[in-house]
């Protein structure tokens, strides 16, 4: 059974943004296709159109030379197009089997037989009767894939599938995808990770600003050539200077940190120990949900734990709240820019004032001194290359990259001794990532310290002096970044051990 899928002249325009501009592509079964592009390049819009979630303004989709209508997800399913979204479309509180049965027209017994066959055939190990919220990200993804396989898909679309997986889980996924491809399923693989394109896919289409800029066989491509096509300019690569922090004094020391949560969604932390010197960057790697959130909140003072010792600049700060910690020259950039770091409905200058209640003279006798805050905000905008000079703009209208620059700028302008960042470049495009990375290197060079909690291994290897891995609330031993490789991190992140 040969499958041919063709999209022809697809356009989709959102207010102020052309998401897809006359996109035409052809796919055939037996091959794995990569759709490569930066955030906002239009990949996700295109696959949303293919899966019936979004309707195109113009253009047609052909399956085996016949026009198909994709007005709803149901119609995509009827046409045997399966889709695994980047953000899982699972029902967390329902069991795995309930999740699978919800859109199946088979009765429960037949479905169970079918699902067990699929589990056996592809060597998936998942308990069908536990709630989905107990599964790891990799297992959740398998549930999504099984949900597609139940319907005998002709086309399987994977949207950024490895962003939540360990290296081992990624390898497993690639083996499965190759197996599906052999079984005649046409696979479209959306990603912005270049290595994956080269190791998995046969053909690659690069998208930029809503247009397809190149289609080629992956054999003919290299990482650099793909990167340049994706970004559209030659990128200068950043190289971290080796810092001479080894002889400097210790600035932060955490000993025997324990945290036990009553919330089943949170992770308990067990006996964490770490120390940090002046000018050092400590990277903390790990798959999301292994305790990073809790660790960040304990560092920032959002969670106060009993009996924990956090020594910072020779002072016990374990009981200080976030504001007091900031006054003692700590700074924080949380993971969730829109809800934790900034208030989207507030204007830029108002957001800038939020972390600075006392130390400056923004407030006099309880009144807001707008003029001073605005001057301060303007300084941040220009010093940190935020692409606007309008401090009256509501923060929600900033792009992710600009918002992150604003947040980092707000934190750094008070010259803190320690910056704790949590996934500072998550979801940003290459240009913004570069800028944030340069800034983080700069503060180390100025003798300030940083803790980088990140799920992006390349970023950690690039910026850290020391690296450790957090797994199920425990820290691995702290390693010198020069001796660490992505493979080693992958093993530790998956709960393995290295010597």
């Amino acid at each position: 059974m040969n499958t041919k899928l063709k999209v022809s002249e697809i356009s989709k325009i959102y207010p102020g943004c052309v998401a897809n501009d006359k996109v035409s592509l052809e796919f055939g079964s037996g091959r794995i296709y990569a759709l490569l592009g930066e955030n906002g390049a239009g990949k996700s819009t295109l696959v949303k159109i293919l899966s019936g979630v979004v309707k195109p303004d113009e253009g047609q989709v052909f399956l085996n030379n016949e026009i198909i209508k994709l007005n709803s997800p149901l119609e995509a399913k009827k046409n045997n197009i399966g889709m695994v979204f980047q953000h899982f479309n699972l029902f967390e509180t329902l069991s795995v089997f309930e999740n699978l049965s919800i859109d199946s027209d088979k009765n429960d017994e037949d479905l169970r037989v079918l699902v067990n066959d699929i589990l056996k055939k592809y060597n998936f190990k998942i308990d069908l009767d536990i709630p989905v919220l107990n599964l790891s990200a990799g297992q959740k993804q398998k549930v999504e894939i099984i949900r597609c396989l139940i319907r005998n898909p002709k086309v399987l679309i994977m949207d950024e599938p490895t962003s939540v997986l360990t290296e081992q889980e990624t390898d497993d996924l690639f083996i499965s995808l190759k197996q599906f491809s052999k079984d005649g399923i046409l696979i479209i693989y959306i990603t912005h990770k270049l290595k994956e394109v080269l190791s998995l896919c046969d053909e690659v289409a690069v998208m930029r600003k809503g247009k397809v800029v190149s289609v080629s066989n992956t054999i003919d491509e290299k990482i650099e050539s793909l990167a340049n096509k994706m970004v559209g300019e030659n990128l200068n690569t950043i190289k971290k200077k080796i810092n001479n922090f080894k002889n400097s004094e210790e600035i932060l020391k955490i000993s025997n940190l324990n945290f036990k949560s009553d919330d089943p969604y949170e992770t308990n932390l067990n006996n964490l120990n770490l120390s940090l010197k002046k000018g050092e960057c400590l990277g903390i790697a790990g798959i999301s949900g292994n305790g990073q959130n809790e660790l960040f909140q304990i560092l920032s003072g959002e969670i106060i734990t009993e009996g924990t010792s956090i020594m910072f600049r020779n002072k016990e700060i374990g009981k200080l709240n976030p504001r007091e910690r900031r006054e003692y020259l700590m700074a924080f950039s949380p993971e969730d820019r829109i809800s934790q770091a900034a208030v989207p409905e507030l204007k830029i200058y108002e957001n800038v004032a939020l972390n600075n209640f006392k130390s400056s003279n923004f407030f006099e006798k309880g009144l807001v001194n707008e003029k001073k805050i605005k001057e301060h905000a303007k300084k941040i905008l220009s010093n940190f290359a935020v692409n606007t000079d309008n401090v009256e703009l509501k923060s929600q209208f900033l792009s992710g990259g600009n918002l992150q620059k604003l947040i980092i700028g707000r934190e750094l302008i008070t010259s803190p001794e320690l910056l704790v960042c949590f996934n500072p470049t998550w979801g940003l495009d290459v240009g913004a990532i570069n800028y944030i990375h340069e800034t983080l290197i700069q503060i180390n060079e100025q003798g300030k310290s940083s803790i980088l909690i990140s799920t992006d291994n390349d970023e950690l290897l690039k910026l850290s002096d020391h690296i450790c891995v957090i797994y199920k609330g425990k820290l691995s031993k702290i390693m010198n970044a020069d001796t660490v490789t992505a493979e080693k991190l992958g093993i530790l992140m998956g709960g393995g051990s290295i010597d």
Partner: protein
């Protein structure tokens, strides 16, 4: 001895009767909330059900029409809520509060002409068994058909939610409307149906009050029972069986404290009147303190407005 036992039997029968409106309204609201819709208009829908049931009884002289009509009127008024929250995407909380205020005002207006009219006797089933069996007789027999329905309803609701495909879809919509929509489920339709069902049950609960429990029309006769039903759903952590238990405790203590007042116990009346509320909350909190189960039962998207990406 046998007289005492019989008295206890009659007391239990009375407790069951007083908890019926709570069970009906709470079971309906439970389905609504399980689909992710928070309808605070329970009190308003109940009182509309109460007045329309009573008015139809007076006008048609037919109890069947009265009961069906009360359910229809609850359904229609919940349709207003549905239109506002699901099609016009208004805030659930504000709309629900408005619905209650509207319902109370509207019922008072319609009810003006019906004050003081006597009710009609509602047929009681198995009356001869009630008389002939001591103790168990008054508990199990001699009730109206609506009471029997109310006591079966939580079990049906439980089965429906846990074992049927439709129940699964409702739980899925309440868990994540976006995921459900991406799976091809018509979230808005599902939520409309759940809202309408909840409205019909609240209407029936109101009719039980005005046709059976105190068969007459009195302004504001629901007396906050709608709010109790709402609280029951939350404190019972969206479990139909616990709703039943909670309603019985509330009804039980309400009746018992009345008897205690009558006997003249030297406890302040205010404290006795507050007792049902306090005890119900304590018991439900204690029986549902398993935080894992709460997570699994709570409709994650409760009260959130859902709109489809276009």
């Amino acid at each position: 001895m046998s007289f005492d036992l019989n008295f206890i039997g009659i007391l239990i029968g009375a407790i069951m009767a007083s908890s019926v409106p709570l069970i009906l309204a709470a079971s309906g609201e439970l389905i609504t909330e399980r689909s992710g819709v928070l309808n605070l208009g329970v009190e308003g829908m109940m009182i509309i059900g109460a007045i329309s049931g009573f008015a139809l009884m007076v006008v048609t002289d037919n109890l069947f029409f009265a009961v069906v009509g009360s359910m229809l009127s609850g359904l229609i008024i919940s349709l207003i809520f549905g239109l506002l929250t699901q099609s016009l995407l208004t805030n659930h909380v504000a709309t629900g509060l408005a619905l209650t205020i509207f319902g109370i005002g509207m019922s008072a207006m319609i009810g003006k002409n019906f004050v003081g009219i006597p009710g009609k006797e509602f047929p009681l089933l198995f009356l001869n068994l009630k008389e002939s069996i001591p103790f168990l007789g008054p508990i199990f027999f001699g009730h109206t058909i609506i009471l029997y329905f109310a006591f079966v309803l939580p079990f049906l609701t439980n089965y429906f939610l846990k074992k049927t495909k439709t129940g699964l879809i409702i739980r899925a919509v309440g868990d994540s409307p976006t995921s459900a929509s991406n799976q091809g489920i018509n979230v808005t339709l599902v939520r409309y149906c759940c809202i309408l069902y909840g409205g019909a049950m609240c209407g029936l609960a109101g009719a039980y009050l005005s046709l059976i429990y105190t068969p007459q029309w009195i302004e504001n006769m629901t007396g906050g029972r709608g709010w109790i039903a709402l609280a029951l759903v939350v404190f019972a952590t969206w479990s139909p069986i616990k709703v039943l238990i909670g309603a019985l405790i509330f009804g039980g203590i309400t009746i018992l404290q009345l008897h205690m007042q009558a006997v003249g116990l030297r406890i302040p009346v205010q404290l006795l009147s507050a007792l049902p509320y306090i005890m119900t909350i304590i018991v439900l909190v204690v029986i549902s303190r398993d935080s894992r189960k709460i997570k699994l039962n709570t409709p994650t998207s409760l009260g959130q407005i859902f709109y489809k990406e276009k």
